[in-house]
């Protein structure tokens, strides 16, 4: 791929244990092009979040990046020093976490969760932050006058949308979404992803989308990588993954996915 926005190269990540180490990510490589939605699928514990964390360099001991590079916009993220890292985070890569419920600070008003970010990266005053906050909330269909509320006063779907608005605040080139909608209803989930899709079209950022719902993934992503036990076992366009799955594991995943839209696909493999 020419000039990928994100290029993960031979990434290996371990969790250091008391006696032995656990290799959570093994030699994973993939690229994400500007404006592209790249999906990472795989079952629980296969290392998806571990990769997502590494991209923002959020890991803490005992996680250990034991090999590989993460290139964003041509720079190796792993080589950034503390100051560069602070600048890099969120302004280049923003992130939506697994649970919408808990990724907003429960004791801070929504506006101050925008403000601390904007102040840090842009040096905004309170008034400026408030103005920007209003704009952003409008983008995700939340009335701007609610910015003085606390997170617990919003429903789960609204909270997730607020997080997305915060993600957009610095106009990052990449947004990492780690199972952003698992806790939500299908309808809400659809509304949110639809909104993200529109915003992506509008603003041109790329998305790294993590989920274990293959159907949703094919619907939303341009390209998809399938992970199994820390390894990236298959990678291709959504089309390919859906219609011509190569790896046995991918096939098995499809088999266990009952779709009611399409006529039932022939089931391969036996249910476990």
């Amino acid at each position: 791929m020419n000039n990928p926005l994100l290029s993960v190269q031979n990434l290996s990540i371990e969790y250091v244990g008391d006696k032995t180490d656990f290799k959570a990510v093994q030699n994973v490589s993939f690229d994400v092009a500007p404006g592209e939605v790249f999906g990472l699928a795989g079952e629980s514990g296969c290392g998806k979040s571990t990769i997502a964390f590494a991209i923002s360099r959020l890991h803490k001991p005992p996680a250990l990046i034991s090999g590989g590079n993460i290139m964003v916009g041509g720079r190796n993220v792993l080589d950034l020093d503390a100051a560069e890292l602070a600048r890099y985070r969120w302004s280049e890569v923003a992130m939506v976490f697994q649970s919408a419920m808990n990724s907003l600070n429960p004791v801070l008003r929504i506006e101050s969760q925008f403000h601390d970010l904007l102040k840090r990266h842009r040096g905004y005053s309170k008034a400026q932050s408030r103005e920007r906050c209003a704009e952003l909330l409008k983008l995700v269909d939340i009335p701007a006058d609610r910015m003085r509320d606390y997170p617990f006063q919003f429903s789960g779907g609204m909270r997730q949308r607020i997080v997305i608005a915060i993600c957009l605040a610095l106009q990052p080139k990449l947004i990492v979404m780690d199972e952003p909608t698992t806790a939500l209803d299908v309808v809400v989930q659809r509304e949110i992803l639809q909104r993200i899709n529109e915003l992506r079209r509008e603003l041109g950022f790329s998305v790294l989308f993590i989920t274990h719902d293959l159907g949703l993934m094919v619907q939303f992503c341009d390209r998809i990588g399938i992970m199994l036990g820390g390894k990236l076992v298959e990678q291709g366009t959504a089309e390919q993954i859906y219609h011509q799955p190569q790896h046995d594991y991918t096939k098995k995943l499809w088999a266990s996915f009952p779709s009611f839209h399409a006529p039932q696909p022939e089931r391969q493999g036996s249910p476990s």
């Binding site: 079952e43 299908v186 639809q194 719902d213 619907q219 009952p258 476990s272």
Partner: protein
């Protein structure tokens, strides 16, 4: 519908929660039957009242209005003994396999307790044999699994233990409240298969509660779509899903991920305004019931 007698029937059940000044409609005018050898799926989004229905059936909540019938007769005995007698027949499988088994006890203990409570005639070796049977029935290796603690087991295995536990009681009806939503995609199928088999082989009546329309389609004979405490549409699974009548049902189905229609495709699009409108409307009470086929009913939106 079917000719077999209903094991459990709900007749015009209503339940309102009072939270200080305001009220929440938990269930309104709910009626349905659970039949032996059949699965009834109850779908709906979060907060629509599914669990409330389950709890009313489990007699954890007392309904404000309406009747709960067991084997065709209204329940009158509210003593602990009567409750126990009832629960011998009606059991529940919970959503979170990690929380529904006591981490302090072994699998063996989890199955031994219902046996000693409900199959008191079994003694000594007979109990152990029965536990083996049960575990084999849910496709687990008794030798390996019985002595283990829950945290040594995977989510799918735990859910199987839960199923075995209801079998140990000897229940005729099982309420499964989102039994697979916490499981990995790859093992969900297995658990559902197992439930299906139990239904077939043992003639159980199953209430399958889920927000995942796709799996409901896969396991159930009948389906009910719930919103705001009301059942908006119900009937044969195929009929309802292929020919939804209520706007809300339509919207719900449209929102189910479909690999064949990408987001960029205008067909997939849900208009936010439309969504809100449907939601607002579905919240209202709809007393008029219409039929759209021999086994397909819905609440008609007036005006």
């Amino acid at each position: 519908m079917t000719t077999q007698p209903a094991i459990i029937s709900l007749k015009n059940i209503g339940k309102t929660f009072h939270l200080g000044a305001h009220q929440i409609r938990g269930a309104h005018d709910i009626s349905f039957d659970l039949h032996a050898g059949r699965t009834l799926a109850l779908v709906g989004e979060s907060g629509s009242g599914k669990t409330t229905c389950a709890r009313i059936i489990m007699r954890e909540y007392i309904a404000d209005s309406g009747e709960l019938l067991f084997n065709g007769s209204a329940i009158t005995d509210n003593s602990p003994k009567g409750l126990k007698q009832y629960r011998k027949n009606v059991q529940m499988i919970f959503q979170d396999p990690f929380a529904s088994l006591n981490p302090a006890h072994t699998v063996d203990y989890h199955l031994r307790r219902p046996l000693s409570l409900y199959q008191g005639h079994l003694k000594g070796q007979a109990v152990t044999d029965k536990i083996h049977d049960l575990l084999t029935q849910v496709e687990l290796d008794p030798e390996i699994v019985a002595p283990k603690h829950p945290h040594d087991l995977s989510g799918g295995q735990r859910q199987r233990i839960n199923i075995a536990r209801t079998l140990a009681v000897g229940a005729k009806a099982i309420i499964a409240d989102e039994p697979t939503s916490m499981l990995d995609v790859s093992v969900r199928q297995g658990v559902l298969e197992l439930l299906n088999r139990m239904k077939r082989d043992l003639g159980l009546a199953l209430l399958y509660i889920t927000h995942d329309v796709a799996t409901a389609h896969y396991v159930a004979e009948d389906i009910m779509v719930m919103y705001g405490g009301q059942i908006l549409e119900w009937g044969d699974v195929k009929a309802v899903l292929s020919n939804p009548q209520h706007d809300y049902t339509r919207m719900l189905l449209a929102a189910v991920p479909d690999p064949d229609i990408r987001f960029d495709d205008p067909r997939s699009r849900l208009e936010p305004n439309a969504v809100n409108r449907v939601r607002e409307q579905a919240k209202l009470l709809h007393p008029h019931i219409r039929s759209a086929g021999p086994n397909h009913f819905y609440r008609h939106i007036d005006g």
